[in-house]
Point group: C2
Chain length 200, copies 2
Amino acid sequence: MKESKTPFSYELILKNISRFIDLNLEEQNLYISLLRQRVIRKKDFILKPGEVVKDEYFIVKGCLKVYSIDDKGVEHISMFAIKDWWTGDIASFLTQQPSNYFIQALEETEVIKISRKNYDLLFKKIPKFERFYRILYQKSLANYILRSDQNISLSAEDRYFNFVKKYPSLVNRVSQKDIASYIGVTPEFLSVLRKRISSI
Amino acid sequence: MKESKTPFSYELILKNISRFIDLNLEEQNLYISLLRQRVIRKKDFILKPGEVVKDEYFIVKGCLKVYSIDDKGVEHISMFAIKDWWTGDIASFLTQQPSNYFIQALEETEVIKISRKNYDLLFKKIPKFERFYRILYQKSLANYILRSDQNISLSAEDRYFNFVKKYPSLVNRVSQKDIASYIGVTPEFLSVLRKRISSI
């Protein structure tokens, strides 16, 4: 766990924000003053169950795995957060109750983070961020519901195709075990599935 | 399916809005002008899979059941929407793609609805609604993630206790079959569970 010594650019996060709202230069600088940077080493955790979430993260480079472990010891991956994605545990971040999640870096990962205090301040200082987060949460909610639906209604094969479509850059960066956990099958079943698909 | 002839009060929806933003009288009237009322008869559907969602709903009275049916014919209840709740299918509402859901009235239900067109207009006319929906979606997202977690991590007994805590008014209004579907067990298992609990 180390703070970044050589700061990286805010260009990517500003571009992400500009999808939904326009910030002038003064607002951009004010926004940046509320952010912090961090480099997370491969395999390091930034969250473990029982901890209260202090920050929301934007990924500049690398990959974070967000997951929980059920009472039978089975791992459930909620999300791989990659470049240009937002992640965290919004329930714990908002309620300041302990999280049920692990967040671990699968590669060395550069993040930009905003604390809960600065997040609250942001809406006071730059009210148009209400719009940015309204649209961001709206899309997250729709995507989250869609994925839950698909976990129920799609076959394992179709869930694997969806993973490949959603995360084309991850297919060869993430372990087979993690892909299997994300789509909700055993690694053995995923191996059979991949052989079946490659023989089509 | 009938439009309401005797309009009901907008008091409840305005009170719901006032949790997060203050509207002056002019804004209240403008907002109300963008809404429509409807009474849904018991057992009527306002959404079936394949249809594109036209409206978001606020429940004034009654109860709607939001559910999907998987390819094995098993019903999965996402939500019981009761008085003072918002519901719909946000993914279909936003993307204007066909829904996977059924929404059915379990009782005669009074709703206030906003169309997609008026929803978009609302943010132009009264920008502070960005804040209202930012907070609403933020809470929905946190609740949705929490419920998905609990479906994985809690026992059926604890899921039943959560249902009773979340919907105290529904325990005797909704069928045992529907409660079983919501908590993800068979009606037979729920019956065993309730007997076990009542004997404690």
